[in-house]
Each structure stands twice: as structure tokens, then as C-alpha cells.
Amino acid sequence: MTSMTKALSLLPFQSIFPQIISIRDVKGWNSKTLQSFRLDSRWLRRTRGDSRPLISVRASGDALDSSGDSERAGDGTPVEVEGNRLDLERKLGSFRELGNALPPAVLVIKRNSVSKFAIALYIAFAFLAIAARQIMLKKKNHHQGSVADLVRRGQLRSDRRGISKPMKYDDPFNNPFIKFGKGDSTIEMFGKVYRLASVTLTKEQQSVHQKRRSRAYQWKRPTIFLKEGDPIPPDVDPETVRWIPANHPFATTASDIDEDVAQHNVYQKHGVPFRVKAEHEALQRKLESLQSEQKLNEVALDLNNIRDFERPFKTSMKPQDPEPNSSANQQNGLLTLKSDEETGTSDGESFSGELKKY
């Protein structure tokens, strides 16, 4: 042990010996300061202030390489010391003195047995703390995926550990994420604690706001929508008219809906809807008219009559000769209501079921 510490104490000086040392100091450099490069109390006292030297030891392989470097001098500028061999030996000799002056660390420890005991105690305590932390963390990780996690996530209540039936979230009157505080003034929700702040709005303030709004906003709900330029009907309050720009891309004020029929449709509770019934009746009338003209068996074999009932859904084929009085045109003539023709296909089963009754 002692041999090793001695070797360590000598090692820096031996390894530096054949090399050039450059020391940077903000305050400058000379051989006197190099000689006073000792870790004694005077040096420490001197380096306490602003004048803390920045010391960098740079090693170069060949002394001749740095011979061409110009020596830079002056306050605050780094100075590279290049000296002849004598200077160098003198400087390194001072380093050796410094090394000899410093006692080995083991001797320092031996000098005071009380401090040694304290250091040992500190080291032991540090080892103990690290070990305790590792054990605690290991314990924490060990419980991942256990029932405790289910309790933490709200799947199980801590007081329901023995009950195997898991809690159902279907019950809106029982949420395990809500925990009430003891003082009835705090709630813990989803891991955060909330306190309650009373609402300060009073009835008087509410009425003040209502009065303010009634003064600020004078409005009547529009009951009639007119295009710009249309005349106002005589029995209509002008304030209830909403004017729509004539070139509005989406809005339409034109209404071809028979309001009585539409209202009847909305209130209809049973039976076949109006439009479906109308379509069915139109088809039935056409069939009856055909039956009156020809016999039923001929109708069944007549290709022209069959074509009347066909719907041109095969768009990829060539269009057949248009018939001026097709059944589809007749249906459109009968019905005045507009609707989206894409609808009404999915519930066709229920409609066809109801149509069978007729």
C-alpha cells in the first residue's frame, strides 16, 4: 500500500520530465511564481480572490517543436514558457521539492485516527443508503401488475380486497376515482386534490346582467325568410323578416312543400308513410289500367309491359329508347315533394312488409 502511494506521488513528475510545460495564467507567468507553486496555505490564500490562476499543463513530444513559438508576454495574456535546459531542470527541481513536501495520503490518515473512524462511518452510511434505496426500488418494481395496482387504478377498492367481484363502471352512481376528504371540503379526483370555492354570483347580479342584455339586444326571432328584393307580405312584422342574399350558395327560401301534408306526415303514428303509399297507389292504378286493356296472362308475356316496370339501374349499358310516358315520370308528376333519392333503401324490408298488406 505504502509503496503504491509513493509511486503515485512520484508519477506526475517522472512522466512530465522530458517535456515542455506551458502554464497559462491570467496574471502572467515567471519563474518565481513557478517556484511558489505549492499547495500551502499562502498559495491558497492568494487564489481565493479573482486572481485564481488557470493552470494548464500541455505536453509536447519534442522540445524543438516549440522552439519557434514566439514568447508572448504581457498582463492577461497566456505566456508560453520556453526555456533552455537549465531553466527547465530548475523548474522541475522545484516540482520535485513540492512532491517531497507533500506527505502521502496514508500518512495523513494515520496521523488522526478519529477522522479515519469518521470517514469509515461516512462510507458505511453511504453504502447503507445506497443499499436501502436499491431494496426500496426493487420492492416497488416487484409489485407491478399486482392487486395493489388494481387498487391504485380503481379496479378494486382497498376495502374490497377479499371480494373477487370486480367493480363495474356501468354504475354511474359509484366511481372509484372519487375520494372525499375528511373535512367535507376537499375531493381527490384522478390523483389530484381539489378544494371547493363557493360561487359568488347572487340573484341580484343575475338580474343586473339580464337587464343589461335586454337593453343591449333587441331581437325578434325571424319567422319569414325573404330574398333581397322580394316584397314584404302585408301581415308580416318587418322585424321578423330575415333577408337572404339572392346569390347565397346554399340557402333556399323557395318552399314547394305543402305544409299541411308535411305536418300530417310528422304526426303520423301508424301505417304506411304518405309517399310510399302514393307510389304504391300509382303503380296499382297503372296495373289496373293495363289489366283492363289486356288479359293478365298476356300482360305477363308482353315484353313492352315488362319494360315499363323496369328501372334503368344498369348505367353501363347503352341507354334504351326513352319512352315519353314512362311510369317514373308519372310518379314524379304525382308527387310535389322533393327529397334526396339516395334515401329509403336500407329500410326497404319494413316498407315492403307494409306494402304487402295492401
Binding site: 372519487i178 343575475q206 343586473v208 346582467h209 333587441q218 340557402a251
Partner: protein, 326 residues
């Protein structure tokens, strides 16, 4: 505080000037700093009992805001489904003629074959146009029209009034609630949506643009005779409120002067539930926003309002043993 109330009461200002609002909003609130007297938890959260239905049925409630994107449709879907889970019969009506979305949020977009326009045209009956939610059978959806079909502007209000009347007299009994999802703006869609309504739920976010629109819409609703207006403050971030970067719920209430039906915190689960077509209130495990919607639905049933709001407490400081993983 006094200057703000003076500004609100003075006729020349519809809302206080924005600079004043911002200053007021960002200034430290004394009443938040001061510990309010401890309110009972029942003021904020109702629990462990079934809500008692108040008022005449069907209660026709329009969910509106004025500004778009504040969460009207989300509110309608979640409150509607919460009401259905409480055991009440609910008909949710999407009154947005051109841009309907309620069916998407409820995950019923593939089952909407008929709308109110088809009912008016006589293509189907009203009961055939109602889409029943299989998860909660007491919830039914009615869309007013398909995206591409045109409804004459002046006709929507009449049509929706007829629909509500027809629901009132249907053979299976009237629904307890008719929730109408109002489109943004105050144009024909708004007029259509508010026509049959008796009460309104105003959805707003704690920012000044939404508040201005909400104040105007409240004024229009009051002009139309709807006096029962309650407010849901959506997308509240308690951490921003604590850092004075967002108006608190009490600030919003002070500016609008409306009773609070609910406070919905910002929750990333909202967008996930929208993507899934699975409303928040059905999430397992429950989410904090879903819970807040549930509580809002509870108060809607009982015609109750919040008397206390929740303020986030400072997070607990970690103790000495936190170093050991505790």
C-alpha cells in the same frame, strides 16, 4: 371588481372592453386566494342516489353557444347519454342541417337512414327516423337532414316544433328529455334549434371570443322568451387558472351572470372518444371530463346549479423519504 361590475351594468358596453377583461382576468383574484368557507361536497358532486326529475316532461333543452368549436355537440352527446344511463328517455336532435356531427360522436353514423326531412316528405314515419342507441336503448337520435339535402330556411323552425309535438304525443310515451344540438352562429340553424326549446344550456370556453358570442346568444335567447339558461364552461385547465393564465370559472360567471350547470376540464380523452365514436361517459375506467359531464347531466335533471366550483390544490410536496421511492 367594482369596475368590472360597473362596466357590465353600463349600457354602452355589451361586454367590458377587452383590455379591461384581460387585466381583470389576469390580475390575482382575491376571492380565489382567500380560502372560501368550506362548501359541502354535495354542492359540486352528487353521488350515490338517482337524480330526481324536475319540471314537466318532455323537457326541451337546446344546447347552444354562438361560437363554433366550444363543444356543443360533445356536450349534447355526453349529457344525452348520461341522462339515458340515469334511466331517462332521451331524444337527441341534431339541428345542424348542413353540417351534422352528433351521429359521429355517438357512433351512429352508419345507422342514420332517415332524417326529419324524409319524415316531412312522407318517406318514413317519425318513429322510423329515430335511431336507437344499442348501448343505451333509452337514447334515440334524430338528424334533421342529410348533408346534401336542402331544407327551406323558413321551414326548419316549424318542422322542429312539429317534431317535438309529435314526440310529446307518441304512443310509447313522451321522452323525458329532448336535447337539441344547435349549430354555430345565429342564422337559420340557430333559429330552427331554439324554436321548440323551453330551456337552454349555453356552452362556452374560458376565452374572451367565446364569452362575447355567449353573451350575445344569451341575449337573443332571452329575447325569444327562454329564461331558463344555464352555462357549461368547457375545456377548463386548472393548471393555467392556478398560474393566472386562464380565466377562472368564477371570472366567466361574473362576466356572463349565468348559473353554472357544469365545469368540464380539458381532457385528452375527448378527442379519443370522438375518434372512436364512443362518448366519454361510457369510458372504462371513467375519465375526469366524462365524470364532469355526468355531474352536469345530474344537475340538469334536478334543475340544480353548482354552488361551488373545484379549485386545484397545490401538489403535495415530496417528503424526505421520496428519495427512497416512497
Amino acid at each position: 371588481m367594482a369596475s368590472l361590475s360597473h362596466a357590465l351594468s353600463s349600457p354602452q358596453y355589451i361586454l367590458p372592453p377587452p383590455a379591461l377583461i384581460r387585466r381583470q382576468a389576469l390580475a390575482p383574484r382575491r376571492h380565489l386566494r382567500r380560502r372560501a368557507p368550506a362548501a359541502a361536497i354535495s354542492a359540486a358532486i352528487q353521488w350515490n342516489r338517482k337524480p330526481q326529475l324536475a319540471g314537466e316532461t318532455p323537457r326541451v333543452v337546446v344546447v347552444t353557444s354562438g361560437k363554433g368549436g366550444v363543444g356543443k355537440t360533445t356536450t349534447t352527446a355526453n349529457v344525452g347519454l348520461s341522462l339515458a344511463r340515469f334511466g331517462f328517455a332521451v331524444v337527441a336532435v341534431d339541428a345542424d342541417a348542413g353540417l351534422r356531427n352528433l351521429d359521429l360522436l355517438l357512433g351512429l353514423e352508419n345507422r342514420v337512414n332517415y332524417t326529419a326531412v324524409e319524415v316531412l316528405n312522407g318517406d318514413c314515419r317519425l318513429d322510423q327516423a329515430l335511431v336507437r342507441d344499442r348501448r343505451c336503448p333509452s337514447l334515440e337520435l334524430l338528424c334533421i337532414s342529410k348533408p346534401r339535402s336542402k331544407l327551406p330556411l323558413g321551414f326548419g323552425a316549424k318542422a322542429l316544433t312539429w317534431v317535438v309535438d309529435a314526440l310529446r304525443s307518441r304512443p310509447s310515451g313522451p321522452p323525458h328529455f329532448v336535447l337539441i344540438d344547435c349549430p354555430a352562429g345565429i342564422d337559420a340553424g340557430f333559429i330552427t334549434a331554439i324554436a321548440p326549446a323551453n330551456e337552454a344550456v349555453l356552452v362556452t370556453t374560458p376565452d374572451i371570443t367565446a364569452l362575447r358570442d355567449a353573451d350575445r346568444v344569451t341575449g337573443l335567447l332571452e329575447c325569444d322568451g327562454i329564461r331558463d339558461i344555464k352555462m357549461i364552461v368547457n375545456r377548463v385547465r386548472t393548471d393555467l387558472i392556478r398560474g393566472e393564465d386562464m380565466m377562472s370559472v368564477l371570472d366567466v360567471q361574473e362576466m356572463l351572470g349565468l348559473a353554472l350547470l357544469g365545469v368540464i376540464p380539458e381532457d385528452s380523452e375527448v378527442i379519443k372518444s370522438t375518434n372512436r365514436g364512443y362518448p366519454l361517459v361510457l369510458n372504462k375506467p371513467p375519465t375526469i371530463a366524462g365524470l364532469a359531464f355526468e355531474q352536469a347531466a345530474w344537475r340538469l335533471v334536478e334543475q340544480d346549479t353548482m354552488t361551488a366550483v373545484m379549485v386545484e390544490e397545490e401538489p403535495r410536496k415530496k417528503g424526505f423519504f421520496s428519495f427512497f421511492g416512497g
